[in-house]
Symmetry: C2
Subunit: 289 residues, 2 copies
C-alpha cells in the first residue's frame, strides 16, 4: 500500500497508473464500515484504487465543525490495510499533509451546481455543495479515475456530483454504494462519534420515521398514500429537531410526478446540545396511481 | 472547411482529430481583423484549428446587449475562408444552432474564479466572468485543444481564463494575441458597430489616455511617476464617462509593487446615448524605483 501526502508525488505516481481500471474513493477520514464498503466495491470493480483522506475546509461553513471533525489517520490506515487483505498493493492512499496540496496557493476557482443544490441539505448549508463539487473535481483531475465511489447516505451529494460530471462531460462513472447501518438502524457516520448513548437512542427517530414512510409507500400507491403522508410530514416537521423530511423523485430530486419510478425519502435531524445534525435516506420504488 | 452546428456532430468529429496540434479560437462572431489575427496565430502554431462562433448568453447580464449583439454568420464564414487561404481544410467552424448545443437541457453547473474577477470589468459586470469561464470550459472539454487563443483587448478575460486553467489543472496553453486597432487608434471590437462617426471620435479619449500614461511610465520610474499619475487618474475619473481606469501588475492584476515588471493600463469608457461601453489596455514594462 502506497501512502502519499504531497500533491506533486501524487501527480508523478498517477502518471504510471492506468486510467482504464482505476477507482477513486474520496473520504474525509475517520473511516468506518461505510467507507470500507466503498473500498470493497472499488476493489471489486477496479485493478487499482486511490482512497483519499482530506477534511475539505471548503465544504464547511464558518459555524460548522471543521476544527473538531474527527481526524484518525493511523487508525484509518490500519483499517484500509485490514480491508485490503492481499490487495494492499493495489491501493494508493492520498492523505494530503496540508490544504495547499489540494488547493495550491492562490487557488480561486469554484465549481458549483445550481437547482439541485438548493433543497434538502442545501437549504441549511447553502455553500456546502460548491465546496464538495470543487474538491471532488480537483481529485478527479489529479487522479483521473474511471470510476468514483460515494455512499448513498449522502444521497444529495451523489446527485450533485453526478450532475457536475454530466454537465462538465467528465468521463467518470459515478457509483453509489448502499448505506451501512449500526444494528440499531442508525446509519454509520463519523459525526455519530459526537453522540452519547442517550443521544444515539434519540437519533433513531430519524431512521424509524424513514421506515414508516417506506412501508406506507411500499403498500400504497403515491396517490393513495397522499393524505396519510401529508399528515406524517406535517406532524414530524412541527418538531424543531427536524431540519427537513422530504420525499422526492430519486433521479431528479424534483417533486414526485407520474413519471417517478423511485423516490428518496430523505431526512436531517438535530440531536443533542451541540447539536449534531445527522442525515439518512431510503430509496423505494413507487407506483404513482 | 468544415462547418458544424450540432454538439453531437462536434463530439464525433473531434474523436478523429489529434489533440496534440489542435488550436481553439473561441469567438462570439461578427468577426473583424482582431479575430482574424487570432485565427492566423492559431494556424501558424497548429495543424488544425477549431473556431467557434457562439454568442454566449451566460456572459451577458439582464440589462446588457445580448439580443442586439451583432450576428453575421455568412460574412463570418467568408472572412474565415479568406484568411485561411489554402489552409481552409485545416479549419473546423463550430457555430451551434442553439444554446442547447453548448448547454444541454438541464445544464446547471457554473465555473467561477474569485479575486481577479472582482476588479476592473468585474465591478460593473459582476456575473460576466463566471459566464465566460463556464462557456470556455465547455468548449475546452468538447474540443480538447492543445492551445487556445484570446485577444489582449479583453485582458482581464485572458487572466481569468489562465487562472481557471491553472486551478483546474487543464493542460491547455492559453495564448494572448496583441490588440488590432483602427488607423485612428481605436481598438477593434464588434461593439464599435454601435458607434456613429462622431461617437468614434469621442471614443478616442480611451486609447489616447492610455497612451499618455504609457509614455509617462516609459520615461519615468513608477515612484517618480507617482504624483503625476495620481493627478491624471483623479482628473480622468472625475469624468463620469469613465467606468474605470487602472494600472495594475499585468501578471497578477494586483496593485503594483517592487516585484512588478510590467503593468497593464486598463480602461473602460462609456460613449453615446445607448451608451456603448468600450474597453482597451496597454502593456508597458516598468522600473519600480
Amino acid at each position: 500500500m502506497k501512502v502519499i501526502t504531497k500533491r506533486n508525488e501524487l501527480i508523478n505516481t498517477m502518471k504510471e497508473v492506468s486510467h482504464q481500471s482505476l477507482g477513486l474513493v474520496p473520504t474525509m477520514g475517520n473511516l468506518h464500515a461505510g467507507h470500507m464498503s466503498l473500498l470493497e466495491s472499488a476493489l471489486n470493480d477496479c485493478q487499482q484504487v486511490v482512497l483519499t483522506i482530506f477534511v475539505n475546509p471548503k465544504q464547511f461553513s464558518a459555524n460548522e465543525d471543521l476544527s473538531t471533525y474527527p481526524r484518525t489517520p493511523q487508525e484509518d490506515l490500519d483499517k484500509i490495510k485490514e480491508t485490503a487483505g492481499n490487495r494492499a498493493n493495489d491501493i494508493i492512499v492520498f492523505m494530503p499533509e496540508g490544504n495547499t496540496e489540494v488547493y495550491p496557493p492562490g487557488f480561486n476557482t469554484t465549481i458549483s451546481v445550481s437547482g439541485i443544490t438548493e433543497k434538502l441539505c442545501g437549504k441549511s448549508r447553502p455553500t456546502h455543495f460548491a465546496g464538495v463539487t470543487t474538491v471532488v473535481y480537483q481529485l478527479f483531475t489529479l487522479i483521473n479515475p474511471a470510476r468514483a465511489y460515494f455512499g448513498q447516505k449522502d444521497y444529495q451529494q451523489v446527485c450533485v456530483i453526478r450532475k457536475m460530471a454530466q454537465d462538465l462531460n467528465l468521463n467518470i462513472d459515478i457509483k453509489t454504494v448502499p448505506i451501512i447501518r449500526e444494528e440499531s438502524g442508525l446509519a454509520l457516520s463519523s459525526r455519530n462519534g459526537y453522540l452519547s448513548n442517550e443521544e444515539k437512542e434519540i437519533a433513531l427517530n430519524l431512521p424509524t420515521k424513514l421506515e414508516v414512510i417506506e412501508s406506507l409507500l411500499k403498500f400504497n400507491t403515491w396517490v393513495d398514500a397522499g393524505a396519510q403522508l401529508n399528515e406524517i410530514l406535517e406532524s414530524t416537521l412541527s418538531d424543531k429537531a427536524w431540519d427537513y423530511l422530504d420525499i422526492l423523485d430519486s433521479k431528479t430530486l424534483e417533486d414526485v410526478d407520474q413519471n417517478t419510478k423511485e423516490v428518496v425519502i430523505a431526512g436531517a435531524y438535530f440531536v443533542g446540545d451541540r447539536p449534531t445534525r445527522i442525515i439518512d435516506n431510503r430509496l423505494v420504488e413507487i407506483t404513482y396511481a
